[in-house]
Symmetry: C2
Subunit: 442 residues, 2 copies
């Protein structure tokens, strides 16, 4: 991508109305633009990151036999009346009347709609289990939208739903999704703390939140620091015992939100040097709610003895648009964003120091043409001051900066700077290809 042609308008100053660092940086880097209170347009750079996160999450689900569907944003109110939740969301639910005065609403979540759907399709115990997910825009009419896409009104959520024969099978689905979430957050390069949580308006007996620890987070958490000792990357999710044992190992350690916190249990069961009290951002939330929605929608199946049974269910959400901001909260410095490799909008930022110099131009153009075939390269080919180019590339947070200057080129070198460490090295132009292969590998 050539910056001279791209839709990229950055700000030098911090916007006065932004408080969170992620909000400031997303506005300054030209990733988002507010359309109206709590509602945002995603600009090219922001959308690239959002799509990368979305696709990483989608693929992780599909690989594990969670199938993708897409429910609409607009829902009929009758299914919410049926579940008894029509008033639970209060004024946060955006209610709508259509031209025929039918009551509709912009979905804040989809338990009703999906239970209604499967109740028509599932007939027999042979049709179970089923795990489904979708990634769709939701709307919650927050009283005070703030912090950019961290707490906005129209937001992108991945929500999955499990349908099982009974509690035992449903518990396996819950553990499978629990470990899948830990794997996804690890892939995203995030250190996430799973905590026991209240289930809120979704309801149900079993519920965990996934918290990204940052000082700016609104959720207070209390946990045993050994929770980080568990590596889930080798857990085989198709194996019931593996998934359950791995989950229970993690959950055996104290880790709770303030609603579930019990000071005496915390003090008595966690050694004092392991007690952590901290803040974070909720980026995922999972629920087992049993037959709560199946009852309302007659979602049942015929068991192997010929009699009817209610389906057991759970739901599993990740805040996809919020994750963009959360990742920035965890990866930034005073110069700008520092993208982890898996979600960076571009792998390489190419800076032509002297756009008035033929040697620099020619090398940069050739580099851009050659390496764009293999990597995502953003090329600052603009005719602006070199200081602006450096500041801009740091702000955008591209992991590797290739700096093409006349003097270095005369010695057959280019400078390569890593955004995360700030360190730069001179690399011989004949070794650039293998250097990039090494640095860009995932």
């Amino acid at each position: 991508m050539r910056l001279s042609k791209y839709y990229s308008f950055t700000l030098k100053e911090n916007p006065s109305d932004a408080y969170l660092v992620s909000h400031k940086l997303m506005l300054r880097a030209g990733m988002i633009k507010q359309a109206t209170s709590g509602i945002y347009t995603w600009l090219p750079l922001g959308l690239k990151v959002l799509n990368k996160i979305k696709d990483l999450i989608r693929i992780a689900h599909i690989k594990n036999d969670v199938y993708e569907i897409l429910m609409p944003t607009i829902q009929p109110s009758d299914i919410w009346i049926k579940s008894g939740r029509y008033d639970d969301y209060g004024k946060e639910m955006l209610k709508i009347s259509d031209r025929n005065d039918n009551e509709l609403l912009y979905g804040p979540t989809n338990e009703e709609m999906i239970t209604d759907l499967v109740s028509n399709d599932i007939k027999s115990y042979k049709d179970l289990p089923k795990l489904l997910f979708h990634v769709q825009w939701k709307f919650r009419d927050e009283i005070r939208p703030r912090f950019g896409v961290m707490r906005c009104r129209e937001f992108l959520m991945k929500d999955a739903y499990s349908f099982d024969l009974d509690y035992e099978n449903s518990y396996y689905s819950y553990c499978k999704m629990f470990i899948l979430y830990m794997k996804i957050f690890k892939l995203l390069g995030l250190k996430i703390i799973p905590v026991k949580a209240a289930s809120g308006p979704i309801g149900g007996a079993l519920s965990h939140e996934f918290i990204l620890e940052t000082s700016s987070g609104e959720t207070q958490i209390f946990y045993d620091k050994r929770v980080f000792d568990h590596d889930v990357s080798n857990v085989n999710l198709t194996n019931k015992t593996d998934a359950i044992v791995a989950t229970e190992n993690i959950l055996s350690l104290y880790s709770r939100t303030s609603e579930k916190h019990d000071l005496s249990v915390f003090k008595n069961t966690v050694e004092s040097q392991n007690q952590i009290i901290s803040n974070g951002i909720e980026v995922g939330h999972i629920f087992y709610f049993g037959t709560k929605y199946s009852e309302a929608f007659n979602a049942n199946y015929i068991n192997n003895k010929g009699s009817k049974e209610l389906i057991h269910s759970g739901s599993y959400g990740i805040g996809v648009s919020r994750l963009v901001a959360a990742i920035i909260e965890a990866n930034n410095d005073d110069r700008g964003i520092k993208w982890p490799k898996k979600v960076t909008p571009y792998d390489i930022g190419l800076i032509n120091v002297r756009s008035d110099n033929d040697t620099c131009n020619c090398f940069s153009e050739n580099f851009y043409k050659k390496f764009s075939k293999k990597y995502e390269v953003i090329y600052d080919d603009r005719n602006v001051r070199v200081g602006d180019k450096f500041h801009n590339m740091d702000l955008l947070g591209i992991p590797l900066q290739i700096i093409v200057g006349e003097k270095n080129l005369l010695n057959s070198n280019i400078e390569i700077k890593e955004r995360v460490t700030g360190k730069s090295e001179l690399i011989n132009i004949n070794k650039v290809e293998s250097y990039l292969e090494y640095k860009c590998e995932f």
Copy 2:
């Protein structure tokens, strides 16, 4: 994908409430399910097709320097009041009040929002041209939603917008998008007729629709059949003259909707053997509207002499969800869907004729494991009657059916049937790999 585990529930009978063949087949194949009037859930098979079409369109735009953004579904009403269009959509616009009684609406299109956006970012003639697009759900509160996703209320649209210095440059953008659309429809395997059209509530001087000819279509068209003689695949869109000449070549032939039809011109300029009067489905619509929205939003730039000028704009829409139905209208028979290779949800349908036979099972399992790495394979491993498997695979419309039977296996053969022609051949199992390579290449 193993059908035994997949979320795929097909219907043997035609649903009584569906009139169009695409609507019937989408319901029967388990691609969509109505959530409420004119609002649909996309099930796994349907969503795969929707995503393939969406991504093909997205990539074609991005490759041609049209950059992707994502505007929200919910818009503030004030920008519509500013453009003077707040009442133009009448009752088709879904108006909403939020908790603070702010007037919002579910976007039926995005000219206002994007002009408001660029009016803040574009300062100088150096910032132009810009072409942007997004693929987002829209809502139009149709008085009589019908024909499934062909005429529904919540639908997926790709809408692009061009921003240029003046009429001349804007005309180039218009021609570039015109030819890009012809290329996209060709990639999708569709024979599309571009016709001169009325511009409706979008406004503007220049407007063309892209029509897929089918007898069930609601749009009547009148055209010179030589319009199909133009091959656009080699037109270089970065070359202004090429794009304009190619467009004008096509537009020199008579081709109009009924609103723009002029019988005497038709009779006098088109030889009688070339006169076609026909029906079709609108799948794309493009508009040049000049400074209509720039004026309302003060979207201007400083020209190279230092004075202010208004930006010239156009918009370019493709009905992405409608295309799924349109493609089925053009590709089906009385047994079901016949997917073109580019948009098929799966490349290969594997039918194990004898799930009670070890040889057949073993071969099918190995085939599935081996070829799933290279192709998208849907494997009917269910324990149902073989007649049901054949009917089901024909209904789903998978281009190549691999039929594994005991007798053929004893002779080291499998049967391969092409869905489009209905022809089948026996292929030696040692030649299957090269046969598939030949048949599945695009």
